[in-house]
Symmetry: C2
Subunit: 422 residues, 2 copies
């Protein structure tokens, strides 16, 4: 390990102090005090590395290395916000690795007198987690034009604070659209066990699992939870609970190829002696097979009808977002493979079940996504862990990828359509 | 309807303005601003009626009519706090009817030169609903010694505010134990359909349904709700949902004689992309048959074991409180019957499924509980409604009951044990 690696690991150590929890994790929900404090820290670190810091209209934070006047950018990064009780690696590793990779790549290109084709940018995407302000991947969704800016800024957290209000006056909300991207790269911990079980160090992400996400509102009627006759009850919490169980039953019907989840449920009035009149939940279906996903969607709608009848409630099922089994550009996967190969690091192709900002970006520009192993696949958990050796290996491959993209080794094909961004 | 009745109905109209909601209901959770404002209004009204206002150590509010030096009190009242979206009648009617009944009884006794045996007190019990600060019936539970004062004062709401903090500086928290009760009386809207369906105006409450209430904590482990392999998941929200469904299944197994409910569920971290690590719910079983209740408890525990296995979670089931099929003193029921009979009002014996402050009080002193009809049995709902005629009939019977209790028509038997109050 060289002194650059040591500095990287020391910086990573410092990152984990923002919003640190007693159990060794972090709590840095988007635009909360620890997230904002860490953004200040990153701004200073980007500046120390000679980059120009800019923010776009949704609070994405960029560090620019401008070396080819007027050329678009290789945009490299991830996110620094976290779930309420999260691990130190998710997102944060990708932003810091991007900063060090861009810095190393720029220095190496200069030292070698290389003739770069593109500028470089580090990015800290705003609100990837979506736990405070849904939906997730908000910053990259606005940047790529998938989500209207006004919609995103108007989203409110459970306390009624909007994204616009949370970012106002922080210095982290800009006015422009950010740098124009020609390519994108992201490195992330795997959040699964494929690399660990196969013994590979570098995951070359070739495609996403398909996903459909739903916002479900179950409506019933308030009544005294003791006195009301059972047959008269229209219990929203009962209906919502039946749907949670139904979602799990769906996954059990397609073992290994369908993941289902309900992570959040809000109940009103949520009083021990009142039958709930309303419950709202967010339900996900994910599969590596789009036909399975379509069948699961059909079965879910059948369950909804059954729940409406048996719990005497009404259910509103709104598909909030969805994506298919989308490939990353094969040329990007090949470029990353060649980079890992050159460095003598073991690698394998993997798919991502989780969404990432890169999943948004790959629909706009050729995008390379890398994984490093995550011990026992533990994720969204304070016990999340990746070894120093793997972190450094990932940084090495990412640096190689950034250099190759910056030199123009990949054709910037017509996928990129800046006009589509608004 | 005489001018006294008109004044009573006008006062009741005024009551409904505190915490009024657009849909015609009220929101007056314990020690919130509207509850405190209404307490100020009641204090002034009690004073206007010549009563001395005192508050005890848990914020129960009393209006005293002292006419027999040193004698204990007939304590008459209900509660003014409400659920978050509640009707105007639940509790509030009972407090205002108590104020008018005590005032009328005292005036009538004086006018007739009667020789009363007991003093009279109106009471507004603190926090009967328990929606902000569980458990319900807090004020009467502390007054009767069922709940330690320190425990009650330390209960915190979801925002972290304790009962002690919420009452501090309001002028509604006293230092003493309140007046000593010899008897208790309460009138309440039925929250069921028995009176309506039988055509009776006055319900003579002869017993409670039995109840067991549980605090259930389901513990799992955080994971990425998309990426984590289904078989690895320990989903607390899934486990909690299975218990909600199981509770309903139990009720369906004993139709008409078992009521079950889960009204509240809190999920952590409650994020769309995180498998929940913890869910807490409050589960009730109620029956008019103690054997059914015992069998339901046994079956519930079997369900818990099954849920632990199938959802890979651990479940902590703690019985928070319980009561049996408890009779009200038969002499009190007979006294109320005689009162209704004298006034020519139709009546019938009923049981109460819901808990009331009187249920706590009857374990300390002979207690009379009366119901008036509730249209369609709607309760804990903004659409709750009782006709003016029924409200006035209830007030008439309550006045008669207060006069009879105040004259000493019922023996104050050894049930009352002031020493047990702490």
């Amino acid at each position: 390990m060289n002194s650059d690696d040591t500095r990287f690991l020391a910086d990573f150590e410092a990152m984990g102090t923002f919003g640190a929890t007693p159990a060794g994790g972090v709590d840095r929900q988007a635009a909360t005090e620890p997230d904002l404090a860490q953004r200040g820290w990153l701004r200073d670190l980007l500046t120390d590395h000679g980059m120009r810091v800019v923010h776009d209209r949704i609070g994405n934070q960029f560090g620019l290395v401008e070396r080819v006047p007027g050329a678009p950018y290789v945009v490299v990064g991830s996110h620094m916000d976290s779930q309420p009780t999260a691990g130190r690696f998710d997102g944060a590793y990708g932003v810091l690795a991007a900063l060090h990779a861009v810095s190393r790549a720029a220095r190496a290109d200069t030292a070698e007198g290389a003739d770069p084709a593109y500028n470089l940018a580090v990015v800290n995407w705003f609100n990837e987690e979506g736990s405070r302000f849904p939906p997730s991947m908000m910053g990259s969704a606005v940047y790529t034009g998938r989500l209207p800016l006004e919609t995103a800024l108007a989203v409110r957290d459970r306390a009624g604070v909007s994204v616009a209000e949370a970012l106002a006056g922080t210095g982290f909300l800009g006015e422009g659209e950010g740098p124009e991207a020609a390519f994108c790269a992201e490195i992330h911990v795997e959040q699964g066990r494929v690399l660990e079980e196969s013994g590979a160090t570098i995951g070359l992400v070739e495609a996403t699992w398909a996903a459909r996400k739903y916002r479900v509102v179950v409506s019933g009627e308030q009544a005294h939870s003791g006195a009301a006759v059972m047959a008269d009850r229209r219990d929203a919490l009962l209906g919502a609970s039946m749907l949670v169980v139904a979602a799990r039953d769906l996954a059990d019907r397609f073992p290994g190829v369908l993941h289902t989840a309900v992570g959040s449920m809000d109940v009103y009035p949520n009083s021990p002696v009142v039958v709930a009149s309303r419950a709202e939940l967010l339900l996900d279906l994910r599969s590596n097979d789009e036909e399975v996903l379509a069948e699961a969607d059909r079965l879910l709608r059948e369950h909804v009808t059954r729940v409406e009848e048996s719990a005497s409630v009404s259910v509103e099922l709104e598909q909030s977002h969805a994506w298919g089994v989308d490939p990353f550009q094969p040329e990007g996967v090949e470029l990353a493979r060649a980079g890992a190969e050159k460095l003598g690091l073991s690698h394998r192709r993997v798919r991502t079940v989780a969404g990432h900002d890169s999943v948004n970006m790959k629909n706009r520009v050729p995008t390379v996504m890398l994984f490093v192993p995550s011990v026992e696949g533990i994720s969204h958990n304070e016990a999340e862990y990746t070894t120093d050796a793997d972190l450094v290996s990932g940084l090495d491959v990412l640096t190689e990828v950034v250099r190759r993209l910056g030199r123009g080794e990949l054709p910037s094909t017509g996928v990129h359509d800046p006009a589509a961004r608004d």
